[in-house]
């Protein structure tokens, strides 16, 4: 019996020590030590009530990062943070300088584990399936102004769309499809003050799911 217990302990230690293992507590410590809190807040709910509140932020809020992002993408991005926005955060005049700090692999693993633990109850899992959604495509490209602000890949991979919103190129790897829908459905929970129009009351819940499904298929 003792042998089995010792074996179990040894196995647990070995698994913990594997290179892929990450530690949320160490991630939170690394998040603070790397001064990420200077631009990102991680304690929800949303704090912004006015345009000034929004403009005072230097980076996106991360208190629901675990509901928003896909872990594999997040861990890789933290090590090689290519700009997601073409414009500097909260600016319509300055281009994104692309100066987001990089994390070493071990810190990126721990920080992504920490951030993936920050979730919102407003995101219901398993609601949206990414696919070439014709209705969603029609709304995104023709009926609504989504492409006016968001970059995306058109036919033959041609880059289309505007520059003021986050790019949606490859967003199927970045965002959780269910979060995209939840964000359209209850924007006030995630971003009470934002430059993107509120579509509640303009799009039906079914059409919001169609748009989320179409966008989540951008690979």
């Amino acid at each position: 019996m003792k042998r089995i217990s010792a074996l179990a302990v040894a196995l647990a230690i070995a698994l913990w020590a594997l290179p892929g293992h990450a530690d949320p507590a160490a991630g939170e410590a690394a998040f603070k030590a790397s001064d990420c809190t200077a631009c990102h807040y991680t304690d929800g709910p949303a704090k912004e009530k006015t345009i000034d509140d929004q403009l005072a932020k230097k980076g996106p809020e991360l208190w629901y990062a675990g509901s928003k992002f896909q872990k594999e993408w997040l861990q890789a991005w933290l090590q090689d943070p290519a700009p997601i926005r073409q414009m500097k955060f909260n600016s319509v005049t300055e281009a994104n300088p692309g100066d987001h700090p990089k994390l070493a692999a071990a810190d990126a693993a721990n920080v992504s584990d920490f951030l993936m633990g920050l979730t919102s109850d407003a995101v219901e899992a398993g609601v949206v399936k990414p696919k070439k959604n014709a209705k969603g495509r029609l709304i995104f490209t023709k009926k609504m102004p989504c492409s006016g602000c968001h970059q995306y890949e058109g036919r033959k991979k041609k880059l289309m769309g505007g520059r003021s919103g986050p790019s949606l190129v490859g967003v199927g790897k970045r965002l959780n499809p269910d979060w995209i829908y939840a964000y359209l459905l209850t924007p006030e929970i995630f971003k009470p003050v934002k430059a993107m129009p509120v579509f509640v009351g303009l799009l039906s819940e079914k059409d919001m799911k169609n748009v989320a499904s179409y966008v989540a298929n951008f690979k």
């Binding site: 345009i51 319509v92 289309m160 505007g162 003021s164 430059a195 303009l202």
Partner: protein
Amino acid sequence: MMAKYTIFAALVVILGLAAPAAGQAQDIDVEKVFKFYCAQCHGVGGKGDGPNVTENFPVSPRNFTNPEEMNKLTNADIKNVVMDGGPAMSKSPMMPPWGKTLSEAEVDALIGYLRVLCNCKGKEG
């Protein structure tokens, strides 16, 4: 004497009722609202040259500093298109419907701001 007090009291009540509405309008920093929501496409100076207007942008956002163009619109036309989007005026859906985002007071303030930018009164309607 009593009549004077009555008139004074009535004035206080009337002014008291009118004050909140006037206060709400004054609280709107319309330039800030314009730069936050509209400048993405119309530019910070309202010339239709915001960062979204690239070679691929399918339409030319209106230049609010052009009085000839702006005089073709009534204030009601502008309100209509801001609240319900371009298609409400047979224009492009690239102009978003802001009616679920902005308050009516903010939209009214924006119309006043556009009239300052164009230095024009607009078509009567």
